[in-house]
């Protein structure tokens, strides 16, 4: 079925609503990479077997991850006319019990985590569920503003109709039929949307320049080379709601006058690659990619290119080298990609999270978007809180949310009665913030003041047992491995830093070596060609200042600070 006009869109919406609210019992299992790694596929098979054996008719669908992978595998269960219920850390036994209860038309109370109610997948309130919290009142969902992740873990990610039922493709229809490309750009400019991959460049501004660049062939590249260790938000969006990303990519193409898009996906995401390829084929089948999109006459093709496992290829110019079949060496700028990008054609490179914001902005208007966030930083940011906290996971919060609140309230703070030592915010390039300085708001300006950044939104939490010297050394080994080797400050400088850190860690260095480490760091920071060598020294330089005792302890005793 092709969706060619507003009527078709309405029909798809009806079909989607029927699929979301079936007249028979419904079970949905999270089947993203994370769910699969914890046995969701076995669970899915078990449910098919059990229901067939018992002769129960149910509506069974896969869903994406809602961001709280530590609660996986998740099951969303709904009896006709009742609210949807969420069960966490599912096992085969739990599934059997739920199916037994479905047969008795009964709600399984044991192991029930929360009601997925509110504005998402509602049903009539049920007195039997009075003591069960709504997802909005319980962590990890409480306090989040899930404009991007909202449908992840609710809709079947490969169902176009379910996405349409959640207002999907309404923005693209509006843009293609009612807006000129310049008007699309105007909304994005007005929204204040900035690049979520870490560079924080104004998206609308980039698009406007690319639109004005001359040339009949232009490219939209979606940067899905989510390389920052600790980050997996892009994977969650791609596996949880791929059509939203596609809609954003097509909108970008329409805005700048491009007909070709490429998703550059990191090599490590094997399942995501297969999954996105299926999603593209499905979107083509509905006429949402390819020729004559939504019957508007606009053509846009999208394909996926897998990277080769190189961190530096997340940098936009290295990424374009990689797409051109070269090794990923960052290029000198100017010329900027918006003038001479991929194969010297005008090109925009946007992150998955950035592009996924666009349909919302077009649908609700740029002005609506400015109501979210702070005066200067607009919108939400998906934070990936990992490390020593009770509830590691993805947290989508408005920019300007307090860091301490995110760590101690939303993510539950440290476990086993331990205390927090330091927190790295933003990316591997972010500095480690000591525990007494966490009472700050998460927005680019505040973070810049303390030498940090919002980056891709990684928040790494270390507790009292973590050794800063060990972590910094580990970081440096990463940078050394990933340096492309083109410029000397990064290739040689960062390597020497890593060697020195190893000596320090093993107690074979002197206090004077800290000065050398500093000097090497400053040189690499100031003279490297791209952000990898330029950014790598920041956590080290700040670490020497803020955690001097850790360094001294290793230099003088060869042991971690606080260990006798």
């Amino acid at each position: 079925m092709k969706i060619k006009n507003i009527k078709d869109l309405g029909r798809a919406k009806n079909a989607g609503m029927k699929s979301l609210f079936p007249k028979i019992p419904q079970i949905r299992i999270s089947m993203s990479t994370c769910g699969l790694s914890l046995g969701a596929d076995r669970l899915f098979q078990k449910i098919i077997q059990e229901t067939e054996k018992k002769g129960i008719k149910i509506s069974l669908h896969p869903i994406g991850c809602s961001g709280c992978c530590n609660l996986e595998p998740l099951a969303m269960v709904r009896l006709p006319g009742k609210p949807a219920l969420l069960y966490t850390q599912m096992t085969l036994e739990k599934a059997e019990r739920i199916i037994r209860d479905i047969q008795k038309k009964k709600i399984t109370k044991k192991g029930l985590f929360c009601i997925i109610g509110g504005d998402l997948v509602s049903g009539k309130p049920d007195p039997e569920l009075n003591d069960i919290p709504d997802y909005k009142d319980i962590y990890p969902f409480k306090g989040q503003q899930r404009i991007l992740l909202g449908n992840c873990g609710i809709i079947d990610p490969l169902s176009v109709t379910e996405y349409v039922a959640m207002e999907g493709y309404t923005a693209l229809h509006k843009a293609l039929y009612q807006m000129r490309p310049q008007e699309v750009i105007k909304e994005v400019v007005e929204s204040g949307l900035r690049g979520r991959g870490g560079a924080w460049f104004p998206t609308g501004f980039k698009w406007d320049m690319a639109r004005k660049s001359s040339g009949d062939e232009k490219f939209v590249i979606c940067n899905a080379d989510e390389g920052d260790p600790g980050a997996y938000k892009d994977r969650t969006i791609m596996e949880g709601n791929p059509f939203k990303l596609f809609e954003g990519v097509v909108l970008a193409g329409y805005a700048i006058g491009s007909h070709q898009g490429i998703i550059y996906l990191r090599e490590e995401y094997h399942h995501t690659f297969e999954f996105l390829n299926s999603a593209i084929e499905i979107a083509k089948g509905y006429g949402l990619l390819g020729k004559n999109i939504l019957g508007s006459g606009f053509n846009f093709s999208l394909n996926i290119v897998r990277g080769g496992g190189s961190y530096v290829c997340g940098e936009e110019t290295a990424l374009m080298d990689s797409l051109e079949g070269e090794v990923g060496d960052p290029r000198l700028r100017p010329p900027f990609p918006i003038e001479k990008g991929l194969w010297e054609r005008p090109t925009i490179v946007n992150n998955v999270e950035t592009l996924s914001n666009v349909p919302l902005i077009i649908l609700n208007g740029g002005k609506w978007y400015t109501n979210i966030g702070t005066e200067k930083a607009k919108g939400t940011k998906i934070l990936s809180v990992v490390g020593k906290v009770k509830r590691p996971g993805l947290y989508e919060v408005p920019l300007g949310t307090n860091l301490k609140h995110v760590i101690f309230e939303m993510a539950g703070g440290p476990f086993n009665g331990k205390s927090i030592r330091a927190v790295q915010v933003g990316s591997p390039f972010g500095t480690f913030i000591p525990s007494d300085k966490l009472d700050i708001t998460l927005d680019p300006e505040t973070l810049r003041e303390i030498g940090s950044m919002i980056g891709s939104g990684v928040i790494v939490v270390l507790d009292q047992d973590s050794c800063i010297v060990d972590i910094l050394h580990h970081l440096l080994t990463f940078f050394v491995e990933e340096s492309c080797g083109k410029c000397i400050p990064c290739r040689e400088g960062v390597s020497r830093m890593e060697e020195l850190m190893e000596e320090i860690y093993n107690g074979r260095a002197g206090m004077k070596d800290l000065d050398i480490l500093n000097e090497l760091g400053e040189t690499a920071r100031d003279f490297s060609l791209c952000a990898l060598g330029g950014g790598a020294p920041a956590p080290i330089l700040n670490g020497i200042k803020d955690f001097r005792k850790d360094f001294e302890s290793h230099i003088k005793t060869g042991k971690c600070f606080g260990v006798s």
Binding site: S37, P229, N303, G309, G325, V327, G393, V460, C484
Partner: protein, 154 residues
Amino acid sequence: MEKEKIEKIVLKHRNEKSAILAILHEVQAEDKQLNADSLRYIALLLGVPYANVYGLATFYSAFSSDKKGKTLVRACDGISCHINGAEEIIKTLKSRLNVEMGKTTWDEAFSLEKVRCLGLCSISPNVSFNDRIYSSLTKEKILEILREMTGDPK
């Protein structure tokens, strides 16, 4: 790898602009390696210098000229895995498979590699065996998985 197989893969991608990475991925997936003969033939078919293709195959960590084992074991050493005990998992893998990091076992059953983040950071540490990832690992769990994989009751 047989020339016919390489030709088939290259032909499949003939209309794509950014085809070379995909070609290398597919040849390696089938042959478990990218040896000099394959690379030379890919270069010839695409009409690019061998040096370019060789450069790609050595620059990207996903490619290797060494023949890989039947099961590719990739231990994640991203920051979250590192904090949550990846070191012990890696040590266990090395000793139980009796193989160094980056190497293949004598019987070509397993190759062990390190990756910087499989993207499952809130259920770390992670290890992938070919396309199957195992999460929230402990030493006991990884031993159990290895017992299953190797058939060795140790």
